[in-house]
Amino acid sequence: MLRITGGTVYDPANGINGEVRDLYVEDGKFVSSVAGGRTIDATGLVIFPGGVDVHTHVAGGSINFARAMTPEDHRRTQAFIRSQTRRSGLGGMAPTTFATGYLYAGMGFTTVNEAAVPVLSARHTHEEMADIPIVDKSCLVLMANNEIMLDLLEAGEFERAKHIVAWHVWAAKAYGVKAVNPGGVAAWKWGKNASQMSEPVDGYKNTTPGSIVTSLAKIIDELGLPHPIHLHCNNLGAPGNISTTLETMKHLEGHRAHMAHLQYHAYGGDDWDTMRSEAAQLAEYFNAHPNMTTDAGAVLFGDTVTITADGPWQHLLYKLTGRKWGNLDVENETGCGIVPYSYRPSNLVNAVQWATGLELLLLIDDPWRVFLSTDHPNGACFWRYPEIIQLLMCADFRKDCMAGMPPEIMNRITLPEINREYTLYEIATIMSAGPARALGLGQKGNLGIGKDADMVIYHKDNDIARMFGHPRYVIKGGEVVIEEGDIRETPDGSEYLVKPSFDPGTDEFLRPLFEDRYCMSFENYPVEMERIERAEVLPCIATE
């Protein structure tokens, strides 16, 4: 039992904007009153619901390979020394599993969504997620380049494709579906890419990236998955990709969709020399279409390692930078590319990317539809979120940062003209209430009675980055996990799954395809329920 008294509460899910309220916790949930127990005096402190990261890469084959590819980072980064309450680990660009939990909790995040899992490495992903302490977790299975599904769509067998998608979600023990460069990664296996939404994908006659996007969005809506299609569009990172992004959005009309890391899809220009931000144009379209949510995928300057299932893009990035190249074979399902990268303010392209991420966050009017993310570790590491919050809340600080950038960027971005400053209420929306709602996690990002008692308590501080980087308390499921910068308790979080219904004959349909084409036997492919620690199967949305 726990009571938190006198704090200034920001709870956007219940419309509470900076009111002084007392909160009571019993058995991990908020209740209306408690008798006895510990009291935390939060007078003068700021209370937020625990942060929710809608799009991050923290567990599985690719992030683990990225850890191995960046040994140089291990020696310069923060080390967690084993103690009574915590295990050893390393922070840095690709933190180790235990450190990931400590770092997320350390800045007040209590739920994270691993955004890209091929079924072939799902077992590995769940093993790693079990080792990420404190936070609750979910993951999304990669489908848009699954060749079995593409073949069915090509043959016009939509219903069977739907069963296949549902089967894969349950086989991966996932929470939703991620689509990465639809058709492009399949084409990459023939050395190609798919950059036109309405041109057939290599190897197919009728199937286009556009038709894949529409079918998959429809499938996910009909299955009633709590989280809509989580889409990484075609042509990520390429100058002039705004046209592809807008066309993709048109293919999604009438469906729910979450557009991942939109910053990487909001560029104008014809090549690297003329690349400019088109965030204003994109935000205008986005503001008018309430069927979509997005996360910013903001960029911060510094060293990082880029990881994505978008193999063709990553291979191009490797050729551009001459840095290391990592690739994992995920057979018929998707692709993978890992390239270490440094964002520099003196680099025109990087400076435009930095501004584009912030512009999207500032130009999209509704904080319930745009969320705080860096597409960790692609744009920057998640533990740098407080720096983004500072940039959003202080227009003067943004101007100071821009003063150090090449003057040529000024006619390529609109950031200097934007004076909007986020309020604490809006920050609480983009880092917690909004992403929780987009993920369909009704228990999260909400300080209401009966909801999960995840919250973070900050000192008020004029240094915004310090305020959000060093919470006074972090409370997860009613337990005080962080107190004044120290890790006090390391409870294990839950893992959220969904089980969409599918035809029981799907196994027999898939078995021969597997025996022909896959490296592992069919029986070993789906992740067993016993493999998931502290699983919570959430219901799908009822559909007619």
Binding site: T70, P71, E72, D73, R76, I81, R323
Partner: protein, 272 residues
């Protein structure tokens, strides 16, 4: 002058990670605080005074006595002051150094001045492998400063170094200047094989003949003007670098053409 004197009283059984032994850490600490500094004996947390007698306090001048073969990371990332070691010292001496000077009257282990940025390290004995080199996976080795080794050095001297100077008084082993991106390596006693392999830029000067790789092309013999300046600078550090035409000339090789690189290797040819 106020000085902090450390004397090893008990040789560590396994490696002692002692990155706290830096002027930056000791500067504002009392004798008791210095004694209580945390070192890692293998994986176990210990106090500095479990291994060292500590005399003095609040100083950026440190003198250490004893066989520190198993003591690692001395002077790591220090930015100021002096560290003098009478005896041998273990790996990662002055790694990530960012100012100040380190002097060792004895031998040093591997990774002396790894990825250092500024400052000076002088080893009067031999040094181990990877002097001034990049750590595994890292793009750049030392970015500035000076490392002087009076004795011999191990393999991969100045691997991926970007700027700065390394002088090896004796012989360097294989792969001196591996994948070098800039800076200068002076090999007073020559080197074993594969010198300058993969070098992209930078200068390697050898006062002894070298067995060069076939990917280095001979490109004349001359007395580069910049060596007058270098020689004068090195004179102050106690290193004699010949440059006068009367004494001889340098044969220049460019490479490594296999990369392809624009580095140069200068080999001293004394006048007959």
């Amino acid at each position: 002058m106020n000085k902090i004197k450390l004397t090893l009283k008990k040789a560590p059984v396994v490696v002692l990670e002692a990155e706290v032994i830096t002027p930056d850490h000791f500067l504002d600490r009392s004798n008791e605080q210095i004694r209580a500094s945390v070192v890692y004996h293998g994986k176990r947390e210990k106090r500095l005074d479990d291994f060292f007698d500590v005399e003095g306090e609040r100083s950026d001048c440190i003198e250490i006595h004893g066989d520190l073969n198993r003591v690692r990371h001395v002077g790591r990332a220090m930015t100021r002051g002096e560290v003098t070691i009478h005896g041998d010292v273990g790996m990662h001496l002055g790694a990530l150094l960012n100012g100040g000077t380190i002097e060792v009257f004895g031998n040093a282990g591997d990774w002396v001045g790894g990825e250092m940025k500024k400052g000076k390290i002088h080893i009067h004995g031999d040094a181990g492998q990877q002097v001034g080199a990049a750590y595994r996976g890292s793009m750049m080795g030392m970015k500035g400063g000076t490392i002087l080794v009076d004795g011999n050095a191990g393999i991969e001297v100045g691997m991926r170094m970007r700027r700065g100077m390394i002088v090896i008084g004796g012989t360097a082993r294989d792969f001196a200047g591996l994948q070098m991106k800039g800076g200068t390596i002076i090999l007073c006693g020559g080197a074993e094989i594969r010198t300058g392999a993969w070098m992209q830029r930078g200068t390697i000067i050898s006062l002894k003949e070298l067995a060069l790789m076939p990917t280095f092309a001979e490109s004349g013999a001359y007395n580069p003007t910049f060596l007058n300046v270098y020689s004068r600078h090195l004179d102050a550090l106690g290193v004699k670098l010949p440059y006068a035409e009367a004494d001889g000339r340098y044969r220049r090789y460019s490479g490594d053409r296999g990369v392809p690189g624009k580095g140069e290797i200068l080999i001293w040819e004394p006048a007959l």
